[in-house]
Symmetry: D2
Subunit: 435 residues, 4 copies
């Protein structure tokens, strides 16, 4: 095994950094906050901490031949999320009924796993185990984002309006007129290049697609623009909505994005820093696909297709408002932010940018593409094959990451996906139109 082992240094610090980041995100929490499941889609924080450890326990340590420490056997049942192949599991909507293991016990469990992983790094990681560790780390980063969105939902369900962390007042930069970037008809390739590092199986394989000519907005839709839609009766006009979206909006009494609250002097919104006024130039956030689609219809546009988005994103640096910025909220676009998260190539003559801004970070951008396998897609072998493929039904693809995404986690080819009625993620939109 010595010759297949890679230098332990390569993954070790990354493992430690990412695992520590999960715990760092919990620093503002009280013990009680770790326990709550405010709706079936939400998991308690301590469940996230445990499940991400269970992942290494289940998929990495046995494959690496590391003897498992003495772990309560029921954890295998409690902290399995959805992997049928590794045995039965606790019913998801019941995760909030578990006071035990306590938060301390969950941290102890994490550290048992970390110790065992430390032994693995000491010993040297076999080459075939390295991708499993990478999946485990990427997986943990996904749950870091969920920890933030879930605790936001938990806090928003409490009439006391708890605050996660005090944050600076929003930087509601001056408005910028919307511009359009144009793309010609072309056959391009999307998906992941085999030699370009880690990617999930759903980004495979690299394949050719025919792109029809289109234009993409050079920035995200703002709260101010969304308020125009609302003021124009956006939530009252069935003709703007998908049929299922309209039915959902009616039955759920949607009148505004999630977390918006009508106050006497205008709209407020609940953020991880508490309740404050809606800032007109911030990107609108916490929209369902249904709302994003209705807004686009109202604007005489459409949502981008995921291949279109990916084509456009290749021209942008991965730079922006990620979790590392500790804003935990999308931020208004500043003119000076444009170059950094903007075009790498020269801007064409005139004032219009030739590449879109805000492609990464801030909010996940709904695309009009149903989540489906790429041509030639095959899921991973074994239990990890359940990671992505089995969810390719009744979901839509989102692109670009958000203010809750770790910067090192995102890529132009990254495919996130949620059902069209989901609103508790940091989800917004960018307009597109046929050219």
């Amino acid at each position: 095994m010595a010759e297949t082992a890679v230098p332990k240094r390569a993954l070790d610090p990354r493992y430690r950094q990412i695992r520590a980041q999960s715990e760092m995100l919990c620093e503002p929490l009280e013990t009680e906050d770790y326990v709550i499941q405010s709706m079936p889609d939400v998991s308690p924080t301590k469940w996230h901490l445990a499940h991400t450890s269970w992942f290494f326990q289940t998929f990495v340590l046995p494959a690496a031949g590391i003897e498992l420490p003495d772990i309560e056997p029921t954890y295998a049942y409690l902290f399995n999320s959805y992997y049928n192949a590794v045995g039965p599991r606790h019913c998801r909507p019941l995760r909030g009924l578990l006071s035990r293991p306590t938060v301390d016990q969950v941290y102890a469990y994490r550290h048992l796993i970390d110790d065992a992983m430390g032994k693995l790094f000491e010993r040297g990681v076999p080459e075939d185990v390295m991708p499993l560790i990478e999946v485990g780390l990427q997986h943990e980063q996904q749950h870091q984002e969920l920890m933030l969105t879930d605790i936001k939902h938990v806090f928003s369900s409490n009439p006391l309006d708890p605050m996660y962390r005090a944050l600076p007042a929003p930087d509601d930069a001056k408005p910028r007129a919307l511009g359009w970037c144009r793309y010609d008809e072309q056959v391009t390739t999307i998906g992941i290049d085999p030699g370009s590092g880690f990617a999930f199986d759903n980004e495979h394989p690299l394949h050719r697609v025919l792109i029809h000519p289109f234009e993409l907005a050079d920035r995200l839709v703002t709260c101010g623009e969304y308020l125009e839609f609302m003021d124009d009766g956006g939530y009252e006009q069935a003709s703007l909505w998908l049929s299922e979206g309209w039915a959902t909006a009616q039955s759920e009494h949607w009148q505004a994005p999630l977390y918006w609250r009508r106050a006497e002097d205008g709209w407020q919104l609940f953020t991880l820093a508490g309740v404050r006024k809606v800032a007109a130039h911030e990107p609108v956030c916490h929209l369902s696909y249904f709302e994003a689609s209705a807004f686009a219809e109202w604007a005489g546009c459409r949502l981008p297709r995921e291949a279109e988005w990916e084509l456009a994103a290749r021209g942008s640096r991965i730079d922006g408002n990620f979790v590392e910025q500790r804003r935990y909220h999308p931020q208004a676009l500043r003119d000076e932010t444009l170059p950094s998260n903007g075009p790498l190539r020269d801007v064409s003559a005139g004032s219009r940018p030739s590449a879109p801004a805000q492609m990464f970070g801030d909010v996940w951008e709904w695309t009009m593409s149903a989540y489906a396998p790429y041509p030639g897609y095959r899921p991973l072998e074994g239990a990890l094959g359940e990671y992505n493929g089995k969810f390719m039904c009744n979901q839509f693809v989102l692109r670009g990451g958000s203010c809750a995404t770790p910067e090192s986690h995102i890529r132009p080819t990254y495919r996130n996906f949620f059902p069209p009625d989901a609103r508790w993620q940091f989800t917004g939109l960018r307009l597109a139109r046929d050219a």
Copy 2:
């Protein structure tokens, strides 16, 4: 006000003792245990601790003219249980979504109230406030029982089977044959005698009832007897059941009392001391009215009426297996226990007792009496009028207290009530039959 004040010593120690008892019951709990609501009927432990304090804050301190300490205003909303008259309230099934106030904050809230009550006791309690304090204490004792039954349900919902407290093995005393106590037709009075101390409004007024001749079993039904019913197909014979009971048993897949689990070598049950074998001679417990009624039908008997039970109970000392015993489970009847919780009058000739045993403590006994107002009943004035009267519909009366009831809380006239499908209380049965 001085002349109406009564000696502060009278209520003060009782207040302190009962308030301390609530906190003592929480000693075995972890912080996380306080937070969980495992079904809509269950409240989180910290909610009980807060709500019982809210009761003094709302109904006692203002009436006594004590200035309220600085209390988070939202608590009035969060910890109102069901009193429409004092304002809106948080929706009951959402009590488990609240991580805040934390457990520490709830204890701090309790102690603020205790301090204010201490000032009241220092100053002397006005006579018209004394009954309100007494209601507050009786109310807190009711919630002490709920704290135990609720945490039992919470723990039972956790695959880790947490234990509340290690307890001695069951004392499964030798079986005793069932005997019958006979009562002749008579007009008697039931309900509370105005001069006999505290009672809830639903025990008023004292009134005459005509009793038809009947016999009452001299002890509770045991697990062993209930197993006979089960083995005889009790859960498969519709003819034994009320129509609504049969429908419930089918849709809920009832096959045994709540907390019973089928193991390879027989039935086990989950207790506050963990999972163990069913003990044949312990009183059967955690039955719904539907199951109690089906068992009685199977046995060729019926459940007692509440007036019959009250008539019989007047002959018994209030003595038995209450919460003070710290068993938290009904216990088998021992021959030597008979005198203490048995007849006060001489036993008639022969080995048969002339008065029933186990009338108090162990398990609440379902009666066949729907919960209804006594002739001449009037609820209390004001918000406390919502305490009992508005629940007089679709519930059945239970009598006698349980192993989770404080001994000082129970009386022969005490009327507990639950819907016929409720099983999470310590509820069992005693047989009756027409003479």
Copy 3:
């Protein structure tokens, strides 16, 4: 068997008359009307016609040794209502999914049964079979009432507002002030006297009850009085309502009795003769127990207990607005109607009546008595034991019959019962109060 047979003439014409009455009630119906089940409590008309025939097929003909005609075997499954003892049955809420058997086939089935019953009458009815026939006829009369209330609900669910039968305009007689009849404390007997003819098992046995002094209103509550309750915020004041009633009223958005509709110029109501204005002096109808209870609370009164009602009813002739009047709606009390459905005994001096009016017919009167077995009650042997006893849970007793009840079907001892949220029967109320 010859000596036990009774003269066939005794039951034969009664059988023919009652069976014909069921079909007569269907005369106004179109074929399509027979098929609809507008809510789970409602049965399609053709189901009633078939089920009442199934009753004779199942309980009478085999007991009489009459060879059954050639009947589709599946009917035994489709037309069993709730008798577990005679086999499995079609699920109640699915009765409206059956287009077959057709209406013609159901009539043919009825006539097959009638022919077989005719043979039985020809041959002479054995004495032990006579009570079964009587049960079958009383049962059919119950379903005649249900046919009317069910078709009313079916029609009310249709935006076309179909009319069952054109009827004369309401006779909204002049108002009469409410009077009270007083009854002293007494031990009386209620229930059925063994020698007094047919009664259901739930009216047995005759038994003594202790009555506390009370007063009973001398007439029903009117729509005008109920409108005062509504105008006084009756549907907005939680304090008037039972807790479960308030929850139901909120979740169901109750603002008025069932079938009332707010129009521009006041309240209208849907009747079997179409939509018209509410008539102030007609008895209010289609109330749940919850509404009746809230009204009584608002009026500072209560509902009568069933024993009180029965005591009072013994003084009244069974005379009134029954189905034979073909009004299908309660009617305003006229002064001249008082004697006929009023006191048999002399009226005491002064203008106050000594016995209540409108005790029979018009509307079923909610009592505050939960439906429970009388002391010494035993259900019938065999499958017919399921007729009444198994429903003695979470229902309230109603007395007196309605405008949809056959006159020959009602008695002072008759106990009807419905859950407290039921509103589609002709249900109203009469006030009572402690004396």
Copy 4:
């Protein structure tokens, strides 16, 4: 208007033929059969007859300036299916609660509309109205298929197993080995050619797509093959299923296709001709997308994409088992049927066909393509814009028509769509795989 009018003869006979066909399909029905809605997706037959007439009343006659006959105004409310733009409508799941209008009244309504349309044909149809008539006729053909699938569901819900029409025994032709037709990578055009006649807006516009190399099965999957899947534990292996599919299969207790019934000697199925044995060589039918997808996974294949299917279908004649054959059930493939519904081009050397059979008729074929707008798609203007576009969410495309589809209604470009859990249509599958 005279010069824009087209010869009335063009559309008139087609109108008469299609309208008559709707009524002809009802010939086997009893009056009661027209009324039933056996689940929310199903509409009563008489509703279909009325709604298709409402379509001409609403969208054609006013546009043509034809004075509307005297029609009950409530019909506009009752028979609007889902067009928000033309006003409020009756709630879909309540369609089965309407006994009125009667079947006779619905036919009378149809004939009023037919008379008015007759006037329009007499007068000459303005050119701009002709497409509206064509939409109305295509719409009516769609409802003809629904009438058959809905009545099948209605009959299947009846324990009497009613038969729609006696039909010849299944022609279970000899098995034929599955072959594969190979297609190379190519850019092709799909969608409708503007000059090629009527098509729905969702088939527009003609556009280029890049096809990856693939193979398509040369025939449908048979019941025998599906039984192999079942026998191999297809319904018990989560790994074969989409996550949402597995959850649905579990909660709905799916063990076989809809309408299959386990009998002592094997599987039977309910057809419009009654219950009979499953025929091994018939195409499997009444599958959800979830089941089709699981089968394909089990077979090591996948479902076709809709562009792949359309590419392949262009080589086939529109010929097959349509509603005109009056079989109302898919039929086994016979060798001699191959040429007619088979390849138009020469078969390549050897026994393998070069083009797939059974592309049209028999069963709708699930594709793996989510129902989405084509590039450049714009819905129709006005209310008819609600016809297709608003349903482009959480549905999958099906192709090829079925044994209940009129032959003149289908095209290679035709896009049908249903949610992935729908099973009551004649839905089956054909395998595909990457080449």
